[in-house]
Amino acid sequence: MIEAIRTALIVGCVLAALFFTLVSTAGVLRLPDIYTRAHTASQADTLGAGFGLAAVALSLGWETATVKTVLLLFFIFITNPTAAHAISRAADEQGIEPWRPDDDRSDLRLYRDSQENGHIADGGISADTAGDEERQPPEDGGTNR
């Protein structure tokens, strides 16, 4: 009986982990600009990893390896938001404009405009991937809703 409950819990946790990671993947692919993507990257993903590692811990039971799982979770909870913060801070520092709902530009357009407005300083080694019109991947508008 206990075994069955545990198995059910494990399956539930794995499913939840998959769900939240799916959300974060969808977010990273769908959302319109770097700031909004950073949201999902740090948070939905943190919860996804949380459930996933919870499932691992459950299946291990009382073991030293379980403590490792808890440590993994602890580190992910600390480092992931920091990474998101660092990334969005870099974007902000570089002057990439945040997207607004009344803005119908694609993220690429937004990024290029930020550059053209001189917000991205000269001499930067920022990724200037936005120069080539005819060679853009066709999915260019995919992130634009």
Binding site: V14, V28, V56, A86, A127
Partner: protein, 99 residues
């Protein structure tokens, strides 16, 4: 070297292996953002999410394959994964100036 985990039953092992497989597929989907960008920050973000996924995949494979040492590898990523984001932050902020 490698301790085999206590018996958890075939179902659970399968669940973890399937989970790992799906996580890998999600990681492949994330590559779109990592390759396309447009900005460097977008790419780093995608790779950061990939890093978190890697931790989970390694933990899942650890249980699924019965190899506890994979958790140690996951620990390395959990500890060091944010380094690149921090580095990119410093890198773009100072353009190699203060770095």
């Amino acid at each position: 070297m490698s301790t085999v985990f206590p018996e958890t039953g075939d179902l659970v092992t399968d669940v973890f292996l399937v989970g790992a497989a799906l996580f890998v597929l999600l990681a492949v989907a994330l590559l779109y953002r990592a390759v396309k960008g447009p900005s460097t920050q977008d790419r780093v973000l995608a790779v950061n999410v990939l890093g978190t996924n890697t931790v989970v995949v390694l933990a899942f494979l650890g249980v699924g394959l019965g190899e506890s040492s994979l958790l140690d590898i996951a620990l390395v990523y959990a500890l060091l994964n944010f380094l690149m984001a921090v580095a990119i932050s410093k890198f773009t902020v100072e353009r190699g100036g203060v770095l």
